[in-house]
Symmetry: C2
Subunit: 310 residues, 2 copies
């Protein structure tokens, strides 16, 4: 039985009985692709190479993505294919990134980085009476803060578990409530931090709209580890420059963010280049999931994490 995997997937250990065929990022596809039972997608195969590959394999293959978001993949799979995402694989790194940036913004680490670069010890920050004169003060802590997590799947649950010992109250929004995403503007003012972990679908695109940003509590923090298109970036730029909200963004619109884009230098924003899921260990975890899925297929068990199928 043949499984097609990306070239260089050294961490992939196929279960016994599977023959591994490697596909490079370019060049002719191996003939054996035509007999594949399963395809594992991941770097260095980009969306267009993945589309080419999915056109060359049998129409009923099992497709395992190594990303949690599959909005790029669903348009290129064929109707008979079963598709699974990498839900679970990125829970640790992505939830860690979210806590890292929430704490960095709350504890003013960007301002302290700047102080360190300039070699200055700003003792004023210790003195709340200096609040008006120090851009660093006041520093607050998380105890008692309210965090809203839009999209409360496995990453959201991992995030909640990591935040709760800080004494925050976490509210996760799913399709089962406690309110509909369409009503977000009416509820968002109750929260100090709003984290976007949604998949990108027609229903979630633009969910953090100009209206939602206006309704956010002054000084609230928007954290986006979903997709750039979840957020109205023109409205966000306005809200940042107006000092109304702060933001920590791992995903942007457009992405990559081009040199000179105003978001790089907007006040109160932290931008990282789509690395929330990055970890030196993510490939090993993703390929371990793929191997478990193949073992399930081999014994006739249904795969987990199925997001599309015949």
């Amino acid at each position: 039985v043949i499984v097609v995997v990306p070239e260089g997937a050294a961490e992939f250990a196929a279960p016994s009985g599977w023959e591994v065929v490697s596909v490079a990022a370019s060049g002719a596809l191996p003939d054996a692709c035509g007999d594949a039972r399963a395809v594992v997608l991941g770097p260095p195969l980009g969306p267009s190479r993945a589309a080419e590959l999915l056109g060359a394999v049998p129409p009923d293959v099992f497709v395992q993505a190594t990303s949690a978001g599959v909005e790029w993949l669903l348009p290129i799979v064929r109707p008979g294919m079963t598709v699974a995402n990498a839900s679970g694989v990125h829970d640790g790194p992505v939830s860690e990134w979210c806590v890292a940036v929430i704490l960095a913004m709350e504890r003013k680490l960007p301002a302290f980085f700047d102080l360190q670069r300039s070699g200055r010890w700003d003792a004023d920050v210790n003195d709340v009476t200096a609040r008006a004169v120090s851009p660093l003060a006041p520093i607050d802590d998380l105890e008692g803060k309210r965090v809203l997590v839009l999209g409360h799947g496995s990453i959201g649950r991992a995030l909640s578990a990591r935040l709760e010992p800080f004494g925050v109250s976490v509210t996760g929004v799913t399709s089962r409530g406690p309110f509909a995403l369409a009503e977000l503007a009416a509820h968002v003012a109750a929260y100090d931090v709003v984290v976007v972990l949604l998949p990108l679908t027609p229903a979630t695109r633009g969910v953090v709209s100009a209206e939602v940003l206006r309704a956010m509590r002054p000084g609230a923090l928007l954290v986006n580890a979903g997709r750039g298109a979840h957020v109205d970036h023109d409205a966000l730029l306005g809200a940042l420059h107006g000092g109304h909200v702060r933001a920590a963004l791992d995903v942007t619109d457009p992405e990559p963010l081009p040199p000179g884009h105003p978001l790089w230098s907007a006040p109160g924003v932290l931008v990282t280049p789509h690395v929330a899921g990055s970890s030196v260990r993510w490939r090993a975890r993703a390929y371990a999931l793929a191997a478990r899925q193949l073992a399930r297929l081999a014994r006739g068990a249904p795969p987990v994490n199925v997001v599309a199928g015949p």
Copy 2:
């Protein structure tokens, strides 16, 4: 009954029966100090003003500090005085700062801040095959990491509770074990992160010695939220420049760190200006503790957090 508090302590609400006398950072001390039953110390009163004040109050007053560390206070109290620290008040902010800097260093936030400042989206960081060419890669996560916490009192326990959901294993070192501080060099290589939360005493001064730094695991992270004098800073500078360890320091030796000091620009170090305990809410919490202590005194109950007494 008179309690002396720092001028501007608006958050202090004395229990009924107590008369409040305010003391400014300079100028003549109020005559009423001579009749005080209790003294609350805190900003804007520094160590020398505190010494002056403790010389003017009765020799058996109760002294409540608003800091957790009292190494600056113990030399200036008189033998008949009972001294309490602010243990507990800073648990949330200090443990938060520790998690914030551990995550910031693990998720490479200082490097991403620099990337943002230069307006560059470094996609290489997503590709572990680019490990050798990107100073940002590899990013790792905390799962499975081992954290050693030197000094496992109330802040250490708060830190452990906040770290455990990340899948790390936390070992706290107290006078009861699991090993003596004097044996630190023989044990430290087993840990990825070493956090100093010790009080500064003759037994803990210099505990992170050149020998301990040499014995640390390559790439390990030293976090100091204790006192600068816990760490041999010359040896630390060498270990940073050698790429042997990384460090996140809220306290330094000397402190404040002067402009031009080599620690500001050493590789792999994050310095914050003694703000781990800072929070816009710390004064309210510290003065609430002071009020609870006065209520205990008034009803004849022993104060909590006593660190020195007759």
